[in-house]
Amino acid sequence: MQELFSQYFIYWLILILFMIGPFGMIYKKNLVKKLMAMNVMQVAVIIFFLVLGQKTGGTLPIEMHGLAGVENYINPLPHALMLTAIVVSLSTTGVALALLILIQRRYGTLEEDEMLRRMNQ
């Protein structure tokens, strides 16, 4: 029972982390905060994938002498996928920051309500 609970607990924590993203994006009005919420969400997805790759009894996915067999190594596929995902999130952040600077330069604010008000003037 305790075993089972701790199983779900990890998944739940990851999903809470994931859900911080959408909630934060709607709740926070500051655009930089929205961007951070987006990043939190992507990190949660990455952790989710890595958890899928972990095995009890497995070591790092680098071949060592005298240690053969599938069960001795962690599944390397999620790691390779998540390297790509991390890079994607960095790229998105870079583009978003460039957009933020443009918005700030034009509208003088990063608060969403204020920005929309100035936009429609």
Binding site: M38, M41, V88
Partner: protein, 493 residues
Amino acid sequence: MREQLPALIIIVPLLAALAAPLIAYLSTRLLRIVIIGAILVSHLSALGTLLRVLAEGPWHYRFGGWLPPWGIEYVIDPLSGSMAVLISFISLVVAIYSGPFFKADTWLRKGIFYALYALLTTGLLGMVVTGDVFNLYVFLEISSLAAYALIASGGHKATVAAFRYLLIGTVGASFYLLGIGYLYAITGSLNMADLVHRLQPLMDSPAVLTAVVMLVVGMGIKMALFPMHGWLPDAYTYAPPPATAFISGVMTKVSAYVLFRFFFFVLGAMNGPVPAALTVVGWAAAVGIIIGSVMAIAQTDFRRMLAYSSVAQIGYIALGLAIGNTFALIGAVLHILNHAVMKSCLFLVAGGVKWKTGEHTIEKYAELSRRMPLTMGAFLIAALSMVGLPPTAGFFSKWYLVLGAMEAWMWPYIVVIILSSLLNAVYFFRVIEHVYMKKAEPKATEENGGGRELPVAMLVPIVLLGVGILVIGVLNEPIVTQILQYALPGGGR
């Protein structure tokens, strides 16, 4: 080299895009030739691939020579092949059109614009032909990032629209990635063909339900399905005209295609939670069609009206998927094709008018038929096709959708389709009336280009698409029986 055709579809525009900054630095004239040439090569290889696929059946291309579940493979069947042909064709046409917009710019801006444009094309083509779900995510991100940047380059309001699109779009992509994660967790595979039979015994697992919801939300955001369409109107309105024409024509449809691929080819339309999800998608689409059409009537800006009309038209495609029988699916796929051509044509016209007169409200379209007869002729064809009058392409897709709804006894859907056709007629005849009947007030401002029509580089694509609508309308019978029929699930040979 013939064996390498499927790879060439993607690689050639990709390499052209990567070399674009260097080429632009050397010569901006050469840049335009290289980009257009690359897209042309991509289009020709897509055509060649499609022809061979129609003759010999699906074509699998293995990257790095690795066998499918371990490596990445491209799968070109009639559906993805015709999508690739469509995308590269629209891309080619819009690339030719975009020339006059960048006459006065520096090499840096030109180079980057064309690079982003080619990358957008690459990303969309890659999403269509891939047979690997994670590879699809990578290309989704390439196309999305390029689209954000292209939209944002349209000016200040465009920046805000692009930032909003970036946030929402990244949420969509993350949802999609998490959905893949669930599928990977229960099957251990990322290859679509492999997923098909590994998923069969697992369809009742709660994880599949989550994955389906995630895919619907993620791709729904990307394709602007009704409650998630918030990003679309602003983005389409403020983006620079060539970018809008391409993005509106193709980008949302590719996401619709991905949804189609997942529901009907990977998961199977009759299994587990998929029918329920399809029903939800169908009703969302039905509401979206009505609301999009009504909102379109309320607009005074021509491009904004077209944007809301896009929301409605995406609804048709989703509706076809939701009904799910042969007629409806043919209608959906045919509508992807038609709408891509029609909407691109309309946005090209809008961009041309903006370029020439600097105006974009509907009132300012008065009497344009005198000054730009060919452009407005193409506009008339596209508008009639959007409404759905018989000889044009738009009629046939709606006809198949209605047939499908009748076969499935979904009367509310038929009411929605007919009602929205009426609404379409209302807002397009308003524009047509301005163009052909209203008298323009005399104006003092001088116009770009001076003479009567648009420059040839802009006029040819518009007319080409306008004629294309008629051709698709006339040839719809062979298109359906020769190509689309084999594109449907179970319709292959």
